[in-house]
Structures are given as C-alpha cells and as structure tokens.
C-alpha cells in the first residue's frame, strides 16, 4: 500500500538548515537530517546541547527562526494553524516525566480517548472505548485500569500510558524525549522493548532523544550527535560506536561507566561546563575541551563533512581522531 503522504522512496521527515534562537542565544544552529519511514534515529548530547529544543521545533511546539521541516510532502513550517492541528495526529511525542505529562484529574481512559475525540470525531463512543481498551492491553496494562487516575500508577506504568496516548492515533513519527531516564534500570528494558515492538508493528519512524549512549546503541539505526546546537557527527549505529570520528563523541563514549571495566583516562579537557556561547568567533565550538585542537581549529569552524560511508563529522582532524580510537581499542582488547 503506498502512502499518499510520502514521495516514492523519499524520507518521512526532512529537516533542512533548521535554526532556533532564544533571543540572541543560538540554541539550534543549521541542523539538517532525514528520517526514513520505520527508521529510529538516536539523538545524543549533553544537557543544554539543544536536543529537546530541536525536537520541539520540528513538531512546531516552539517557533523556529529559519529552515524547513518537511513531513512527507508538507512543509510544517509554513503550515496554517488549522492544517497543522489536523496534521498533528501524524507526529506525536513521549516525554521524560510521564506523570507530569498526564492530567492528574483525568482518568487514564479519558486521557487516551481525548486524541480520538479530536482527530476521529466520527468514531462512536463504544468504538472509542474499545480502541482505548485495545491500546491499554497493547502496552501491557489491563483494560480495567481505564478508570484509574495517573497517581495510582508506578513510573514505568505511567510511561506505558504516555506511549499508549501517543500511539493510539498510529502516528507516522514518534518523538521520544528521554523516555526512560527517570525509570529504574530494571524497568528501562520493558519500555525500550515496548517501543521497539510498537515500531515494528506499526512502521512508525522514531526520533529517540537520550543522553544514555547504551540505550541509543540498543534502539537506533542511525545516530546524530549534537553539541552546542550543532550536529557534530552523524552515522549508522555500528559505524558510530565502532569508529567515532568526532572527539566529542569519543569523550561521551569513554565517559560511560561500565561494570566490566575500570574507568580509563578521559580524552577531554576538564572544562566542565559547556560555555553559553563560543568564546571566540570563527573557531570550532568544541575547541576548549578538545585534546586534538590545533591552530586550524582556532581559525575556522569545521563543517559536517563525509568521513566514511553514510558517516559525517564536523572535525578538521577526524583522521587522527579515528586512528587514535582504533589504536586505543586494539590496546584495550590486547590487555
């Protein structure tokens, strides 16, 4: 079945040169990427790097300063408000704090029925109740729980409800903003597996935001790394984790604690905060924290360039960066 929304073999979501400014502060700078139907794109970065802002601008929850966002053939940036509201059923979001994103005075059944009332008004009340029950069951809750209120559920259950509400309209794009960060480790897997199953079943494309690289590695087909509002590396999963070409990606990977390994030295300078704005114009934004920086990095900002197959990085010295990672990994294996 061909989808009238999509161009033949085209991407589902196409973001081009997206810029978001908060006053004079550039939160997202010149971000470009594509997301294909059924694909999961991981978005990694530190707090303040602009990952949530990027997601919100794509969904037009906040205004973008410039750039374009195409969902299939439609430009969401120039969509009229009434059209946008109609199109919202195609792109839904799951938030970090599931309890805060549910109305405490609304029963779970009513919260799930609301999107159906708005977007499928022709649906009869009994059919709507049936759809809600079916969705609750699909996310691993019993349909009998529809009368309860959010505070009666645990964190993991609340996130299941958040996912049910986002997926009940069968959106084409699901944006998940740190959906497992507030959950216990023993529960995280349940939620990640649920998202993966629903995606396989419904063919939804996912933009999955997380600061947890291990979760990103588990779920994503392709990964974007964002630093200070700019994409610094884009690659397919195995390529990114096997041969990271940006020093920032390497620093993130090296910093993840691992119960099987004693922590190694960090290839990152001890500047702990990400300064609000680059201290000098023209140079690389990662300069102050980079162990590889040279004169060239002080003078010109690197562009996102091809460094391998479907692999791009914004670093003047990516060859040395990849080489040293390979060398280091080989030594670790030999030890």
């Amino acid at each position: 079945m061909s989808d009238p929304l999509l161009r033949e073999n085209g991407p589902l979501l196409s973001v081009k040169n997206l810029v978001v400014h908060f006053g004079a502060f550039p939160a997202v700078q010149d971000v470009t990427f594509d997301l294909r139907p059924g694909e999961t794109l991981g978005l990694v970065g530190e707090s303040g790097s602009g990952k949530s802002t990027l997601a919100r601008a794509i969904l037009r929850l906040i205004p973008a300063t410039s750039g374009s966002v195409f969902l299939g053939r439609d430009d969401l940036m120039s969509c009229r408000p009434a059209d946008l509201r109609r199109r919202r059923r195609d792109f839904q979001m799951v938030f970090q704090d599931p309890l805060a994103s549910l109305n405490p005075r609304m029963s779970v059944g009513a919260a799930l029925a609301e999107p159906l009332k708005i977007h499928e008004p022709s649906l009869s009340a009994p059919r709507r109740v049936a759809r809600v029950a079916e969705m609750l069951e699909r996310v691993g809750l019993s349909p009998g729980m529809a009368d309860r209120r959010p505070h009666e559920f645990s964190g993991g259950q609340c996130q299941r409800i958040g996912i049910a509400r986002a997926m009940i309209l069968r959106p084409k794009l699901l944006v998940c903003d740190e959906p497992v960060s507030s959950l216990d480790v023993s529960i995280q897997g349940q939620i990640v597996n649920l998202l993966a199953d629903l995606q396989k079943e419904l063919g939804t494309a996912m933009l999955f935001i997380s600061h947890n690289l291990a979760v990103i590695r588990h779920l994503s087909h392709r990964v974007l790394v964002i630093y200070r509002g700019r994409l610094v590396e884009v690659a397919d999963r195995d390529e990114l984790f096997g041969a990271p070409a940006h020093p920032y990606t390497q620093a993130l990977l090296a910093a993840v604690p691992d119960p099987t390994r004693v922590a190694a030295a960090l290839p990152i300078a001890a500047v702990d905060e990400t300064p609000a704005a680059p201290t000098r114009a023209g140079g690389c934004a990662f300069l102050e924290r980079c162990a590889y920086a040279q004169d060239q990095c002080r003078l010109t900002a690197p562009q996102l360039d091809e460094v391998g197959v479907r692999h791009a990085a914004a670093c003047h010295r990516w060859r040395e960066v990849v080489y040293s990672w390979r060398h280091e990994s080989r030594n670790t294996r030999a030890r």
Binding site: L213, P259, D272
Partner: protein, 323 residues
C-alpha cells in the same frame, strides 16, 4: 582496626494515617577506615533513608531504631548538639542536587569558610585561605573568582565540586555521597568520580557511595552492598558482586545494565513487575514475585543475610546462585 561506621539492625519507619511504613528494615553494615563501600539499589530501596538516619537528618515523621556507631560512639538518636560536633567535620555528606545544599544568598567563599570558623575555630582570614586551597584541590578553574560568586552563577558540575571541597575541609573520616553525579552529564560525572578517586588516594577518608548505577559504583568501590525493598540482600567485594553475584536480584540487575561494548542484544533485558512499596506487608522474600528461582518457601519464609560460602560474601536468599 576500629570501623569508621558500624550499623546494626537499623530500621527506619514513617508513620502516616494508614499506619507505619518501613523504609529500612534491619540494615547491618560496617565501613572500615579508608574503605569505599558502594550502596546500590533502585528507587525506594531505602538506600538514602539509611544514611539520612546515620546523619540524623530524617524528616519529622520518621523514627529510627537499632544502632549506629561512628568511630566507636553511638550516634543514633544523639541530640543535635552532640551530633554537630562530628557532622560537617568528621562525618560529611553530599547530595544529588548541590543547588539545594548550598545557601542561595551567600557567596561560595563565605559558605566554605564558615565550616572552618565553626568547626576548627579558625579566623575568617585563615578560613578563606583554606577555602581557596579546598577549591583548588577539587580542580575548580579560577578558584579565586569562584569564591566571590553565588551558587546560581556556577554550573551543576562546578557546584558539586564546591560541595565536595566543602565536605573535605575538616579532613573527614567518612564522606557519604548520595547519588553525587545523577543530575550531571556523563562527561562531568566522569570528572567528579575522578576527583573522588584522587581525594581518596590522598587521604585516609572512607567513602560511602550511594547510587542506582552499578557501573558507576564499580569504578570506585572496594565493597558493594545491594539493597532491595529496605533490606540488604547481598554484600561482597566489588569484583565478587560484579562477577560472581549469588543473589538472583543482583544477577538480574547486572543483566539489565545496558552495555556499550559486547554484542548488541535483540531484546533489552529487564525485570518483570516492580519492587514492592514500603507500605506492603512483608511475607517471605520481597524479591520472590520477580524472582525466576522463587518457590513456596521463598513466599512464606524470609531469608536472612548469611555467608554465601566464600569469604566476606553474604546474601539473603534461600536459593543462592553458585559463587
């Protein structure tokens, strides 16, 4: 060697209109001088309340029973005047959110110096010099300028460094760090852990590191204590916990930690169900409903913490895995 901290059968209860809620149940543990003990557990396991009781910082409705000895002296239930002689000097604690631990309307330098004026009876001038040295020790860049800044002018990582610096001012014999890096980015977390590691190597300070993150604890702890539903369920050397866990909960929890290396699994491992709430009555083993090995005995008879057959390795389980 006298232990720094000896805790015996510590219980913490909260009273509310539905009756008593048990947050900590008969926790027993010992911390030796210069030792780092990691306390691992999920939310609600009682790990924080255990050490709030040690510090005498439990909230109003809570009551603690049992015994806590710090450097040989009983401190559980001691009056505040007596506690304040060791609290903040020899026995210190840092928290997850350093913003709420610092006073928002006082400059960082004054808050640091105050500790020394109070506990070591230094003059303000001397104390400020010592505060500067303390910030330099925890690698705060531009330490002199930071002393004149307010907490809100610092980043989260910088505030946590200030808290660590403050907790080390009086040369403590025990530092309790409760999720010190949970609110921070991974790169900053790695730097904070590196500072704790260095501080520990430089002094004979013991550390209790409370965390939900096994990987993080593994990087620092000599010994790891695992808590579940208010009880200590396993305690052993760090390598034994990570490599030869005998309690099924510890073993399952380790499987759940997503890995960056190693093969990528098709399904992400997780534990079905959830931990029982602190209000639920305790019959048998609290982990039984989620345990793959549970039988009738586990559901009716509570297992006690006992030796697991190898030195210094204890577990509370009727069906321990082979060590």
């Amino acid at each position: 060697m006298t232990p720094v901290l000896e805790m015996e059968n510590l219980s913490v209860h909260f009273a509310n209109r539905h009756g008593a809620i048990a947050a900590v149940r008969e926790a027993t543990l010992t911390v030796l001088p210069a030792e780092c003990v990691g306390i691992v557990g999920e939310s609600g396991s009682g790990k924080t309340q255990t050490f709030m009781a040690v510090m005498g910082l439990l909230s109003g409705g809570a009551c603690a029973a049992g015994s806590v000895r710090f450097e040989g002296r009983e401190i559980l239930g001691a009056p505040a005047s007596e506690l304040n002689r060791v609290r903040g000097s020899k026995l210190t604690m840092i928290f997850q959110d350093p913003m709420t631990s610092l006073t928002p309307h006082l400059k960082v330098g004054i808050q640091l110096a105050e500790v020394l004026v109070t506990h070591s009876h230094m003059s303000w001038r001397e104390a400020e010099k010592a505060a500067l040295r303390a910030l330099e020790r925890v690698r705060v860049p531009e330490a002199r300028r930071r002393l004149r800044q307010y907490p809100h002018e610092l980043s989260g990582g910088m505030r946590q460094r200030v808290m660590i610096g403050m907790s080390l001012l009086c040369d403590p014999s025990l530092l309790i760090a409760d999720e010190p890096t949970t609110a921070l980015d991974v790169t900053v977390q790695a730097q904070i852990m590196d500072i704790l590691r260095t501080m520990r190597a430089e002094s004979r300070m013991a550390i209790v590191l409370i965390s939900h993150d096994l990987g993080l604890v593994a990087g620092l702890a000599d010994r790891i204590v695992v808590m579940y539903a208010g009880r200590v369920v396993e305690s052993a050397g760090a390598a034994d916990i990570l490599g030869r866990a005998v309690h099924p909960y510890t073993a399952e929890l380790l499987k759940c930690v997503p890995n960056l290396r190693g093969p990528r699994l098709e399904r992400m491992p997780s534990l079905a169900g959830q931990a029982p709430g602190a209000a639920s009555p305790e019959t048998g083993c609290a982990f039984a409903p989620r345990c793959p090995l549970a039988d009738e005995r586990c559901r009716s008879e509570r297992p006690v913490l006992r030796d697991a057959g190898v030195a210094a390795h204890q577990a509370a389980c009727h069906h321990p895995l082979p060590a």
